[in-house]
Subunit: 708 residues, 2 copies
Amino acid sequence: MSDFSTELKPADPQGPNVLSQERARSDIDINQLAQHLLHRGDFLQRQKKILSVIEKRPYFCKKNQLNLARPDRYHLGLARAKELRRLSLEHGWDIDDYKMADYLTDEMAPYALQTVMFATSIREQCNEEQMKYWLPKVESWEIIGCYGQTELGHGSNVRGIECTAKWNQGTKDFTIHSPTLTASKWWNGSLGRTANHAIVVAQLMLPDEKTGKLKSHGPHQFIVQIRDMKTHKPLEGIVIGDIGPKYGYTAMDNGYMLFKNFKVSHSALLSRYSGVDSESGMYIKPKNQALVYGSLTYVRAQIIMHARLVLARACTIAVRYLSIRRQFADRDAKDDAAEVAVLNYPTVQIRILPLLATTYALHYTGEAMFNLYWNTREEIEKGGDTSRLAEMHAASSGLKSCCTMLAADGIEVCRRAMGGHGFGGGSGIIPLNNDYLSKPTVEGDNWMITQQTASYLIKRMTESVKDPYPTAKAGEPIDGQFRLYLQNQQASKRFDIYSTEKDIVRAFEHRVSFLSHQAYQARVEKKQPWTSLMISLHRLARAFSESLLVANFHKAIFESAPNPPLAEPTQNVMKDLFRLFALFTIDAQSSEFILSGALQPEQLHELTPTIQKLMEAIRPHAVRLVDAWSIPDYLLESALGRYDGDVYNALWQKAHLENPLNLQTFNPDWNTEEIVMGEGADNARGRIEKLALGVYGHEQRADAKAKL
Amino acid sequence: MSDFSTELKPADPQGPNVLSQERARSDIDINQLAQHLLHRGDFLQRQKKILSVIEKRPYFCKKNQLNLARPDRYHLGLARAKELRRLSLEHGWDIDDYKMADYLTDEMAPYALQTVMFATSIREQCNEEQMKYWLPKVESWEIIGCYGQTELGHGSNVRGIECTAKWNQGTKDFTIHSPTLTASKWWNGSLGRTANHAIVVAQLMLPDEKTGKLKSHGPHQFIVQIRDMKTHKPLEGIVIGDIGPKYGYTAMDNGYMLFKNFKVSHSALLSRYSGVDSESGMYIKPKNQALVYGSLTYVRAQIIMHARLVLARACTIAVRYLSIRRQFADRDAKDDAAEVAVLNYPTVQIRILPLLATTYALHYTGEAMFNLYWNTREEIEKGGDTSRLAEMHAASSGLKSCCTMLAADGIEVCRRAMGGHGFGGGSGIIPLNNDYLSKPTVEGDNWMITQQTASYLIKRMTESVKDPYPTAKAGEPIDGQFRLYLQNQQASKRFDIYSTEKDIVRAFEHRVSFLSHQAYQARVEKKQPWTSLMISLHRLARAFSESLLVANFHKAIFESAPNPPLAEPTQNVMKDLFRLFALFTIDAQSSEFILSGALQPEQLHELTPTIQKLMEAIRPHAVRLVDAWSIPDYLLESALGRYDGDVYNALWQKAHLENPLNLQTFNPDWNTEEIVMGEGADNARGRIEKLALGVYGHEQRADAKAKL
């Protein structure tokens, strides 16, 4: 059969020409903007360096990933993880290089917990002796570790975990035990098939000083060898396995683990802050745990910075493809008018351009969080001042919730805006979406952790109400805003959001103050049950997070010269992006702005027209604005989003030359069970039944169980 | 190693006990409500009948699906499709039985296009002679067909497709040709590997009567044999293949197809309505195409009915699991208080219960659409009256957009509300979500087709403005509402949405009238460009669709006795569901209600508290309300959502006994390339490279190309 497809090219305009023209009509200095966004930790140079090492290596080819069975994805993931470790040594990579490789590989890999949660626990929770013993083993990767906290029955509520570690005063050791099925560890990354050691979080059970009855001192961390170092089989008294396929994280062996009266030594309890006195069997209470809060803020700043890059990836794909894609002529145009670039439709712009603005909004708040973290850390190390921790923690909880939601929802908005091709494997959106959709529920469920933010704001409002006119500057930063609100509460507000940017910030702050005051009245004055207020509290936290996003964006662009610097044309676009992000957010939450009195209803009439004008102004810069995020084609793995814009040839290549299904010829006749031509009906039946039933079959399950 | 997991059970309360108690505290008559919802086409009896045939057959076991490679999913899908066809004959299934089997199998299968688009085209577009020839072949499945309309470069804009069919007056035949790569057919289901025939949509090219130059008469349908009936290889002049993995539809071979000067006979052009006179080579213009509109409405009513079942499935899983799942004690409770069922948190209720109400809202509008379709069809067949077609079409476009969005978004809301386990394979949400997310963009993109709705509303408003006080009843149904609005425009509105249900309906209608009038002013009076109005037009269509959902729900529950009947306790819950759906929708769009004057800002204060009270009232009925949708466990394929509530044992079973990855032991040592224990490093390297690079490898692509 002759393949004449090589003779053909896509209809005009050609994608590469379109993107060249798009890039030519903007005066944004991409290199400068990229440096502005990605200066932290030499991101750009590092990306280039690591990319050059991994991009061409066969193991790191991503082209076949969507075709693979889940077990094979784990096999490949483990092979890649090993190779990354070896490359790391070969090239003398530091931890940031290693993380960059992880980012570019774009896969939650079987070793992922080793460098993050496992090593962190060792570093943060070991006493000196433990550290001396364990840290070299971890850093040399002599042992492979994971972190076992979450259980089948408990995730968010860590205090509710059921796994126990009972102190045996006679033998001076602990017994780790899972009293129920729901006590099984569950979800723990790298546990299922890979790790030979685990940090196990268990209720520390000691006899009560007075009654002598066993009592829990809450969840504590233990380091436990879980598999034989030679055979890699689970040790006697432990049942382990992989929990099976998930929405994403295909290459990761999230695991389960049960203990049956499993003994570990006294030294297994990580004892930097607390412990058990082996002589008396008494509990040693924890000292200051402030640093834990601090590092949580750091982790959450990273989450925001990650969210911006994830959303930037989705926007890069959408902006480039939608600039190239044409569909329908303008309805008011003459008969033979050319089709319009899809990104020129306001109904497409309203979905994509505010998200593009959001990538920038997330950036400046991520930056602000990092700076806050480093400054606070410095203060703590200098004099032990921990006064800003509560604020940091409150902000970080709300922002984790808000920012991961914006990114997760944003990916899907981009996908849908790309129509049919967004649903195809050539979009590059599938793995991005499947993996990122874990974020709204992990590391603090997005609807749960906002309570911490609201709780903090109610506390501060309570203080402000007690003393609305303080003689000296007092309290925490937010108090000033609250007092201003309390002092002016009766005055009619009118923020001029269309001509004064600072008024936009004030309107967001006013809304936060109003909602905080409402929450304060309900909870503190009227003593309403906490649970009954949870919806309002979640909304309050969201309002606060949006207020921070707007304020940090404003500060970075309007209140001082951007740092690193930006040329004026770029600055002007950034100003429009700020306006677009803020007004779009107001539009989405407009009734709260009206109810709080931050806006008058008639002000809303101008909202959509103003947003539409801003989008028109930003539109010519869209391609350069995504280019600046510097997402390499290797990471995008997207026919639609590739830098050169050769969309249709790339889609064709992917389908026609990289699809294993096209190498087989099938028998479509329903009258035979034969599937592949020449296979025969009987062969097919046996093979297909195995596919359907899995290795365990219907009957074999009992046998399989014995084998485990 | 001993497996002691069999000795353990989940911590109390046990799931089955919880669900029993949940079911005991509601007085809804489940059987009656199920009959009320699912009477159409004997749905319940049919479901039972078909389920008993397929549930236990090995091919239809779904347990291993998430572990399979994509090519294997197609193999399995084809095997299932064949078996369904055989079962169909064996058991004497009618088309509705067959569709039920398809619904329960829950897979877009390789034969899917045969019974739907292919057969429909034959039945609707063939002239008598063609029908006589083709229909028996289709109905006996002697040929397997697909429908080739969408192309690589064109989807929504059907008129823009590039594939041409040129009439050759000399040889009295057509030449089908793809002039560019973007002219390739693309996305067409069953084409990639399965079908041997296709309906090909191509621009019909005939010489212009005057100039003699070739001119397109627009897209027309041709029936074309595309593969050899014996070898199943593509015919010479055709390149075909499967487009590769997608977000969902894993078992379906969505295909691509290029033609190079491929000849088909005169009779290939389906000629019921239009055609080419073979003597003169002249175009025969289409007669009345009204029926096409009609069947579109029918298809869209089906989409809504499908959307309600899809959303009901997600709600079933979420409501059952979240009733069982406990996490955290009440913050105001004493120290040793038990943990709270997650569904008792208002922050969870506000996500799930309005969606549960939405399943019912979708139902009554689906019912109304079906009734409208059948009534209109009857009228057309009686006297040719097509006056209601425009309204039906306008409503159906907006509703397709609105309802598929509600269902698609709702699935993800349910998934996130289930926290970590929602991300796991045991949720049963993964295939549901992956497949359903195609709906917002296929069969009319959700942001594109709303223009048809808006266009209709502007037309009606224009008529109403011309004649606001007609002497006789005139025009279309919506005109009455528009005239009422125009007559009362200056009067201050206050709809009492909290105590008068009819006022809720009026508030929704008022908003539609206001937005229609605004659109009319912008487009008709101020002559603004259509494109510049697209955002407002989309919002108008959404407002209209929501208004229909609310009005149809109100009509079914408040305006007459429910039919089939419902006992009073059930009716009362339905009334609360109506209120919840309507008020929740108002809350989400509140600024439009305020701007339109349908609501006063101060009315918003009561919105959240009222919604919260309604949710409290509905909460005890939640489990029975999902039970009524009668989704069998086989379809749910969900550990979290199973009818008996034995959630944790089911999750454990799935992970521990049905996961092929747990049968292998791995080598975690980074120092060796060995992956599976005993495999050796060299074997691993070769195998893993193949996984990464795919069958084509890096170098082999050129070879592979030759093979195609």
